[in-house]
């Protein structure tokens, strides 16, 4: 299982080109899918593009979704640097959103974002500690923690103690609205583009720097490549895992904060996101690197924003997920099947293995 995961996430020989190829093929396949149902695929793609980029309004929507997807994608990518598969971005995002909604009652937006990141970090730190101290597999613990977050926040806090009082006759679902000062500043009146998108890009740049240009990033990657070897080299592997998971959670929490502070302005009664899970897809297509994740996040954000308009030509808005799913499949599949084919193919390996292996590496 770890080997398989390593292969799925292993940087392909040419990650950029493999991702571009996967995305292109998935777009072509979805074009054919529309055509096969007898609808006009050209008009569909025209709506898709105009819904994503056709003017300041649509671009703002793309930016909102992209920012969230970049951050959840980075969350998954950072956890993978230390060799952990964080499926818990959804739960971390939910806590981040709630923290932002609560902090937004009293703090300006920068502090709210800090609160969101902190809340997400706690929820990401937990599976890290469980893994290091108790050996609990992070896939199991993060999935379970997602459900705990969903039920605690949606089932209890937002519906109970934190619910807006409202009046006896007016139905308002969710928490009290946040203060004006906590709204993310917007740049234009015609667009909902807010500071979230540039912020996500800055964070992506920061993550790139951290992972590739600092000794801490190097140690994380060393732990991800092999814990025992890292430990032998004097790196406190357990601590590094917990740090990376906390950062991973913080990124997902930040994503939740952007949604609440940017568009909702309160924790809504029905907060259906799925962005935490989509982060896995974004990180996969992005090849696990910061730059790739940012690009993939922008691409999927644009598809998401544009897909709403497909309804105008009778195509279900879930079409965006179809494109996304196919892109993931096309990126991941070759890496799963390559080793399989390599094994099936008769190779001159046995002969090679009889040669004495040098025992000491220089």
């Amino acid at each position: 299982m770890p080997e398989l995961r390593a292969k799925i996430f292993a940087p392909a020989r040419d990650p950029l080109w493999s991702a571009i190829a996967a995305v292109t093929v998935s777009l072509v396949l979805s074009f054919l899918a529309i055509a096969s149902t007898g609808r006009d695929p050209l008009a569909g793609f025209g709506y898709l593009i105009s819904g994503a980029l056709g003017g300041p309004g649509p671009f703002g929507e793309t930016a909102i979704k992209s920012a969230v997807l970049i951050l959840t994608g980075l969350s998954v990518a950072v956890a993978f640097t230390v060799g952990l598969f964080n499926i818990g971005a959804e739960g971390q995002l939910i806590w981040g959103g709630l923290a932002a909604a609560v902090a937004g009652r009293v703090c300006p937006w920068p502090l709210c974002l800090c609160a969101a990141a902190a809340a997400g970090a706690v929820w990401g730190f937990l599976p890290g500690v469980l893994k290091v101290r108790r050996g609990v597999h992070e896939v199991i613990s993060t999935i379970l923690l997602n459900w705990i977050a969903i039920h605690l926040v949606h089932g209890w806090l937002v519906a109970g103690p934190l619910a807006a009082g409202g009046t006896a006759s007016i139905s308002v679902a969710g928490t009290e609205p946040i203060e004006r000062a906590a709204w993310l500043p917007r740049f234009f009146s015609q667009s909902r583009l807010d500071v979230g998108f540039p912020l996500a890009l800055i964070v992506a740049a920061g993550i790139w720097f951290l992972l590739t240009r600092t000794s801490r990033g190097f140690e994380w990657r060393a732990v991800g490549a092999g814990q025992e070897a890292a430990r032998a080299a004097g790196i406190p592997a357990g601590r590094r895992i917990c740090e990376a998971m906390a950062l991973s959670g913080a990124l997902a929490g930040l994503a939740g904060g952007l949604l609440i502070l940017g568009t909702e302005h309160k924790y809504p009664g029905v907060f259906r996101t799925g962005y935490g899970f989509d982060g896995i897809a974004v990180a996969l297509v992005g090849g696990g690197t910061a730059a790739g994740t940012a690009l993939a996040g922008i691409f999927f954000g644009a598809i998401r924003a544009g897909a709403t308009r497909l309804q105008l030509v009778g195509i279900h808005p879930s079409f965006a997920e179809l494109i996304q799913g196919m892109a993931v499949l096309l990126v991941a599949a070759p890496r799963i099947f390559q080793p399989l084919f390599a094994k099936l193919r008769p190779t001159p390996q046995p002969a090679a293995s009889t040669t004495p292996v040098p025992t000491v590496q220089p």
Partner: protein
């Protein structure tokens, strides 16, 4: 690279300019509950698609609705001369606002927002587009501090659900044999409390001994929770359960099927979901609200402001209880119960009985004197 980006933008702009809609296009946006809840959302869609446009939504797009089928609907006013409507589902809560704006940009003559969760989006988009017309169903427009207000280009429709629910409670109170009836709500909101308060008051009015068990699922989109809660209420001895829980309610109906007990549907006539178990449905005519708004727009009579639809206006009421479920009840009991419900209905319309709309009002609610209203069954049930 820049050139490619420019080309893409130009193409997008060309497309953006091309979309001119036919005259009298009506747009409708749903919240994340979406199409297919057999209840509130489908009610609003019925008002626009079947009643106003005379169309049926299928996997291949809109098809004309045959007259024979149309006349089976409870309300079937004459169709209106409008082209196929634009309907958008919200995939996520942050899509509500762009969806409404998109409908405005598409030239929709009326933009319909279904559900109180759309209220903040309606407030924002209606302020940005003062010349566009909006219909908001199930919530008044609120101002920044959460107080109801009115906006000149938004018609906000709310319903007096407690009036119809009181009839449902009376019917359940009359027909229960175990003396225990149930209510399943969705989220604990004032909106759903109206259903609960009215229902409990109705049961109390005709059968003071009847016990009403109340449970809330906490959601509107989780059928499994509805099944669980429904099973629980039936296991605790309820023989009739009323639900006001959106999609969760379909789960309650499933629980009724499993238990072989009766259930009262909500918002749309749900008897076709389980003909042997759905006694009746407390119908909330979102379809009527939509139809009337479209009609007013076509006739140039559309005006903003609040509209309240109750029993008197035909906005709420019980669906005809003529299914297999009611056929299983003895004719004497059936006719006595239905006659009592009818008398209560007349009394509410005449203002002689005021159904409570909140739990506070329910606590203060004094059941009407059965003899004065001529409630036969209730009088007989007295010791």
């Amino acid at each position: 690279m820049k050139r490619i980006a420019l080309c893409v933008c130009a193409a997008a702009l060309a497309l953006a300019c091309k979309k001119k809609q036919a005259e009298h296009t009506i747009g409708l946006a749903l919240d994340v509950g979406g199409r297919g809840d057999q209840s509130f959302n489908d009610g609003a869609l019925r008002g626009l698609e079947a009643m106003a446009a005379g169309l049926r939504y299928t996997a291949r797009g809109y098809q004309p609705l045959p007259d024979a089928e149309y006349e089976k609907l409870e309300l079937h006013p004459p169709h209106l001369p409008i082209p196929p409507p634009l309907v958008l589902s919200g995939k996520a809560q942050e899509d509500y606002e762009p969806n409404l704006q998109l409908l405005v940009d598409q030239g929709a003559e009326l933009v319909i927002a279904v559900g109180f969760m759309m209220e903040p989006a309606v407030r924002a988009v209606s302020a940005r587009n003062p010349s566009a017309k909006f219909l908001l169903i199930d919530s008044p427009v609120l101002d920044g501090s959460g107080r109801p207000t009115t906006v000149p280009n938004v018609r906000a429709v709310v319903f007096r659900e407690h009036e119809g629910s009181m009839l449902a409670g009376a019917l359940a109170g009359e027909l229960t044999r175990s003396g225990k009836i149930g209510f399943v709500g969705g989220m604990q909101l004032p909106l759903i409390r109206k259903f609960e308060a009215g229902y409990r008051a109705g049961a109390r009015a005709v059968n003071p001994q009847a016990q009403v068990l109340v449970a809330y699922t906490g959601t509107f989109d989780d059928e499994k929770k509805g099944i669980e809660v429904g099973q629980d209420l039936y296991a605790r001895g309820c023989d009739i359960v009323f639900h006001g829980a959106g999609l969760d309610g379909l789960g309650v109906i499933k629980a009724a099927q499993q238990a072989g007990k009766l259930v009262i549907g909500v918002d749309s006539d749900q008897s076709h979901v389980a003909p042997h178990n759905v006694l009746t449905s407390m119908v909330k005519h979102a379809d009527l609200a939509v139809y009337l708004a479209v009609k007013d727009v076509l006739e140039g009579k559309f005006a903003g402001g609040d509209v309240v639809l109750g029993l008197r206006e035909g906005g709420v009421g019980l669906a005809p209880a003529g299914g297999d479920a009611i056929a299983a009840i003895t004719p004497e009991m059936r006719s006595a119960a239905l006659a009592d419900v009818e008398r209560l209905r007349a009394a509410i319309i005449a203002g002689k009985v005021r159904p409570p709309g909140t739990l506070d009002e329910l606590a203060r609610f004094k059941p009407p004197d059965p003899a004065e209203l001529g409630l036969a069954h209730a009088v007989a049930a007295r010791p």
